[in-house]
């Protein structure tokens, strides 16, 4: 296990990273968006996107965990023995996930109940592991933080798009705090969008959209 890549489940695409600073940022958010282009870590992405507010909280959780684990893996990168690096990474990631989970439970109990086990499942999210493995282990702390922020934002934006579309078409209105966007009476809400099939559909269309805009071929991304 120790010498296997964390992301082999997902086709091992975690290793695609060059560039530093701004280039890293752009890559994480757009050209190599973890969710829409690399299609990593979709498990938790689909489950929490039935509402925009849930998606945003999940995006924040992800950003926090990704930045924190990247920073600490990077700081410790010269001290972690190669053979046990996977378990060390998992321990670091799990620590940050527990911190965020405790924070939600203490201050946002309702939200914590709605997200259920999916905050905990960030631990097995291939993106966090992939970034720690492929980027933070080879790069100094500052660049690793930028990489964490970029991937966190990229993931969060994709989540927010899916959440927005599902809530809008599923219940006819998007509620975020005091802001309400209502489609009006002419639109009959399609409950299916909030349920499981809607998640798969919206996500499929989002990937297709990214492929179309990038002019890429979907088949290339698959393997």
């Amino acid at each position: 296990m120790a010498d296997k890549n964390a992301c082999m489940t997902c086709g091992g695409r975690g290793g695609l990273c060059g560039g530093k600073g701004i280039a890293t940022l752009k890559e994480g958010v757009w050209t190599n968006n973890p969710l829409a282009i690399q299609v990593l870590g979709i498990c938790s992405a689909l489950a929490v996107t039935n509402k925009l507010s849930n998606s945003l909280v999940m995006g924040c959780a992800f950003l926090f965990v990704c930045v924190g684990s990247n920073l600490f893996v990077s700081l410790l990168r010269n001290n972690i023995p190669h053979r046990i690096r996977m378990i060390a990474e998992v321990a670091i990631i799990a620590t940050f996930v527990i911190l965020f989970d405790q924070f939600l439970k203490a201050y946002y109990w309702e939200m914590s109940k709605q997200l259920g086990p999916y905050v905990g499942l960030i631990i097995t999210n291939c993106i966090v592991m992939g970034r720690a493995e492929a980027f933070a282990l080879q790069n100094p702390p500052i660049v690793s933080i930028v990489d964490g922020v970029a991937n966190g934002i990229g993931y969060g934006v994709a989540l927010a798009i899916i959440g927005f579309a599902r809530e809008l078409f599923g219940s006819g209105q998007v509620v975020l705090g005091n802001l309400v966007l209502d489609l009006g009476y002419w639109y009959t809400p399609n409950q299916l969008m909030i349920l499981a099939p809607g998640a798969f559909f919206v996500f499929g269309v989002l990937i297709a959209f990214f492929n179309l805009v990038k002019g890429g071929d979907g088949e290339e991304d698959k393997k």
């Binding site: 499929g204 979907g218 698959k222």
Partner: protein, 196 residues
């Protein structure tokens, strides 16, 4: 919750509350390994076995170790450590005693540690307050449900190789849309049995 029998939970976990189609767990390997029916079957079997065992172990660890010691907040890190250790152990045992099985199943075992369905099943069993017997039913049923979903998907993917799909939709995108249709079909089971 405690009056539902384990059999009902097992059936519900396969059909109405399929861990993949209604809880979205284990999507990564679902997308990556669903091009061949044989591969899907191997991976599904391995997942079913590991899921049944780890939900039982994690349940015991949670109620007999973490709760008395008031260390409930450590459940994530303990569960993932248990899963990783268990998978490693199974891999070593299978390699030692049955090289044939190791070659057919062994390659899937390391993948299972990072399969979120395994950790998810353990967490669900705790969140839903199952008893020990119900947890066994749930772990086994969730594994079987995952197996059913990935094998069906592999069959569809093999057929789809000859379809003419619009360029941007090729690959993962169309796989998602098929999964959407599959999830809709599985929703037809809703009402047969219900848990939560």
């Amino acid at each position: 919750m405690s009056d539902t029998s384990a059999i009902v939970i097992l059936i519900a976990a396969i059909f109405t509350n399929n861990i993949l189609l209604s809880n979205f767990l284990g999507m990564c390997s679902f997308i990556a390994c669903s091009s061949q029916v044989g591969t899907a079957l191997g991976l599904g079997t391995a997942v079913t076995f590991v899921m049944t065992m780890t939900t039982m172990i994690n349940y015991s660890v949670y109620y007999f170790l973490l709760v008395p010691l008031k260390l409930v907040h450590l459940q994530f890190i303990v569960f993932i450590a248990v899963i990783a250790a268990f998978v490693q152990l199974v891999e070593m045992i299978v390699e030692r005693f049955s090289p044939k099985l190791y070659f057919s199943l062994g390659i899937f075992l390391p993948l299972i540690t990072v399969n979120c369905a395994i950790l998810g099943a353990s967490l669900f069993a705790i969140i839903r307050n199952y008893t020990f017997i119900q947890t066994i039913g749930f772990g086994f049923g969730a594994g079987l449900g995952w197996l059913v979903a990935i094998v069906l998907m592999a069959g569809l993917q093999q057929k789809m190789r000859y379809s003419d799909i619009p360029q941007p939709f090729k690959g993962v995108s169309v796989a998602m849309i098929i999964t959407c249709v599959m999830a809709m079909a599985f929703m037809g089971f809703a009402g047969m049995v219900t848990i939560q």
